[in-house]
Amino acid sequence: MTMLGDRQQLAYIASQAADARVNVELETEGMTLNIGPQHPATHGTLRIIARLDGEQVVWAEPSAGYMHRGYEKLTEVRTFPQVTALVNRIDWLGSFANEVPFILAAEKLMGVEAPSRAQHIRTILFELSRIANVSLFLGDLGVQLGAITPVFFAFRDREYVLNLIEGATGGRFHPNFDRIGGLKDDLPAGFIDETRVVMKKLRTFCDQIEDLLFGNEIFQSRTRGIGVIPKDVALSYGLSGANLRASGVDWDLRRDQDIPMAWNKTDFKVITHPDGDSFARCWVRLQEVRESTKIVDQLLDTIPAGPVMAKVPKIIKVPEGEAWVSTENPLGEMGYYVVSQGDQGPFRVKIRSASFNNISIVPWLLKGVYVPDIITILASLYFILGDIDR
């Protein structure tokens, strides 16, 4: 048992003691299973230490930090444009969505607001990155549960979205397109028509995944009733995003928050599900992709003319102050607390990433489940390692 923190060590000893009491009667011996850091089902290097009794988990604890890249420290020695390029890499599947809250926080400090065309384009790209991110989740879900085909559908259709993002921003994964005061550039010609076509394809993809996976009886028997998170537990562990909505909490920062983005100009449904089990979480995400395609379609119709950049100085110095902005990212609530002391770069940035809080529920959730269900639950919680470790 190497590399455990004090708290983990104590919890582990306690669990072993509890085991020992059971074992006296049943004459069984527990087993500690390390799921990760190298494991095909952990999207990177998350390590779950699980103490098993047979195939049942007695105690489990996620051990994060194998891919810690020190973002909060790195931001202290970089200028604002450089930080924008860096924070792209936090949740690498929906990277444009990472830039937006940071830029919004900086804009809040500077007291500038992006022109409405820029806000529209930001929102479009934000939703596109959500679609790219969550559609990959839908495919990956299949792999975690043993179905190999959905992931190829997901990669195929995500590619269309990535092509759009690349055409507009130049970067497939890391757009770095957002600037304080607006956007780097306007959209290239043809973007709107192409996006409409792709959104149609994505809706077909959602139907395919629904038929292939969500309708499948085996899938349902694997996910229904597995890993149930009640409403109050979800709130107390600080879950956000689809994980929270799947527990029946009607909470969506896109709708509930007044930030200079174009969501309030569109009409969309906040998807919730009362069950709170793995199926609910996956289902909510699937429906959210559909809603996102509708949001994008609406925004494409109403995109206003005008500049995409407000008047900001070439060399950006953010005035002294502190600002907190969070948005509804693909994985949940992502926010930046930016402290500036009037320099070209931030003095301190606190990053609240969704996955880190979302996996905090893992020890609670994994107690008593079977080994195959660990994978189901982790898959349905949906985390990106970069988003946990930062």
Binding site: T79, G167, E217, G306
Partner: protein
């Protein structure tokens, strides 16, 4: 759910079989890479090209690079005066301009900050090397990429035309 319910498993089988037929009929969605290539979009950030004549070795790009992968050395030189009888001009001569693509994270900040339009993005992407050290592109190689730099794309309707700064 009022319709006669097809078991979900058979629907799934239908999806895969339909895809099988579609692939057999229309061909795959994938590209057989070395034989056929997709053209990247105009804005794609493939490789950075250097227009050497415009560079004044002002070091702005090297300083703004988030991971410091641009190496510039230069010296001052006297050039013949523009007008007859004028004093000789001092120009910055570029000795070394290297970009280490093993470190570059393709953020594009250097291209953006360049005040003299010396750096450009090219969508060219086929420059992988078996040795990591060969990814350090020097002045001459960066200059060669200039031929692959495309014109900036047309903008979408409603965009404000802005003059080239």
């Amino acid at each position: 759910m009022a319709k006669p319910k097809v078991p979900g498993m058979f629907k799934g089988l239908g999806v895969t079989f339909a895809t099988l037929l579609a692939t057999a009929k229309n061909g795959a969605d994938t590209v057989q890479y070395p034989h056929e290539k997709e053209t990247p979009p105009i804005r794609a950030r493939g490789v950075i090209a250097l227009h050497e004549d415009n560079c004044t070795s002002c070091m702005l790009c090297a300083r703004s690079c988030p991971d410091w992968c641009i190496y510039i050395e230069g010296h001052k030189e006297l050039a013949p005066p523009r007008r007859a009888g004028g004093a000789p001009r001092k120009v910055n001569k570029l000795d070394r301009f290297d970009i280490d693509y093993a470190l570059c994270m393709y953020c594009g900040i250097c291209v953006e900050v360049c005040p003299f339009d010396a750096l450009f993005w090219s969508p060219e992407y086929e420059y992988s090397e078996p040795r990591i050290a060969d990814l350090l592109h020097d002045k001459a190689k960066l200059g060669e990429w200039m031929q692959t730099v495309p014109e900036a794309p047309e903008l979408e309707a409603g965009a404000e035309k802005k003059g080239k700064k």
